[in-house]
């Protein structure tokens, strides 16, 4: 690509080289990576819910509530995907208690992400910018995990997750554009 990254006008991830990738070794099964992704989405959901509680501006609060609801949809999708690949019957509650629950989609803990934003986010636009940054790093993580894994079925799961994130980003992008246009 002529001009390199400076010429690029699309999504940009600022994830570190090893960020999040340490979560997989490469030989995980589809069930294992879906459980991992579910834990990541659950942690992100809790992160956005935490931001809902902290936001003083109602429009900012609404933006975070929408983002938290989107993460619930992601978890629902992953649960449905898990049921198609898992052997044996488990309840969703049993599945949830055994997932990775302490990392965010970009491999950082909630505290580490919040520490990057010492000046509290007050405007809905800032909330959306934060969400787009996190979701872009998620997309980056899932794509790189797909390339690292040696199991083709597992790789396919990661690519599906990446496509989900792309759809989510498009939706966020539309909300962001409408927000900017209205200000």
């Amino acid at each position: 690509m002529k001009g390199g990254i400076d010429a690029w006008n699309g999504l940009v991830s600022r994830a570190e080289v090893d960020q999040g990738i340490y979560l997989i070794e490469g030989g995980e099964s589809p069930e294992e990576v879906i459980a991992l992704a579910y834990g990541l989405e659950a942690a992100t959901h809790r992160f956005y819910q935490d931001l809902v509680g902290r936001a003083e501006d109602p429009n900012t609060r609404n933006a975070f509530e929408r983002l938290a609801r989107d993460e619930i949809h992601h978890k629902d999708h992953l649960w449905e995907a898990y049921k198609t690949v898992a052997e044996g019957h488990r309840t969703r509650e049993a599945f949830e208690t055994e997932t990775v629950a302490k990392t965010l989609e970009d491999g950082k803990t909630a505290d580490q992400v919040l520490a990057q934003y010492p000046d509290w986010i007050e405007r809905p636009q800032e909330a959306l910018e934060l969400a787009m940054s996190l979701e872009t790093d998620s997309l980056d993580l899932y794509l790189r995990m797909a390339q690292k894994t040696r199991n083709k079925k597992t790789s396919a799961v990661f690519y599906d997750l990446a496509n989900e994130e792309k759809t989510h980003l498009k939706s966020l992008g539309e909300v962001f554009r409408r927000k900017v246009a209205s200000e």
């Binding site: 690029w8 991830s13 790093d137 980056d140 794509l143």
Partner: protein, 73 residues
């Protein structure tokens, strides 16, 4: 695979052409390669880009799937 093989059919595209090229392809059907240094990569990279610094590329060619087209930047 030899280092020279990686660049035996090179086409230069601008950013818009590159985006269109990526959008036309399904994930997993190509390799997106970032040949800069780690600190540059972490300042910002295209999501999904694999980092292999240019200085290391000859020794790490085995990490690049020869069956897939490569978009490098």
């Amino acid at each position: 695979m030899r280092f020279s093989d990686l660049f035996s059919q090179i086409k230069t595209m601008d950013a818009d052409e590159s985006r269109k090229w990526l959008d036309e392809r399904s994930e997993g059907s190509y390799t997106l390669l970032d040949v800069r240094e780690p600190e540059e990569y972490e300042e910002g990279h295209i999501p999904g880009a694999v980092l292999i610094p240019l200085s290391e590329l000859p020794d790490r060619l085995s990490e690049v799937d020869p069956q897939k087209p490569v978009l490098a930047y």
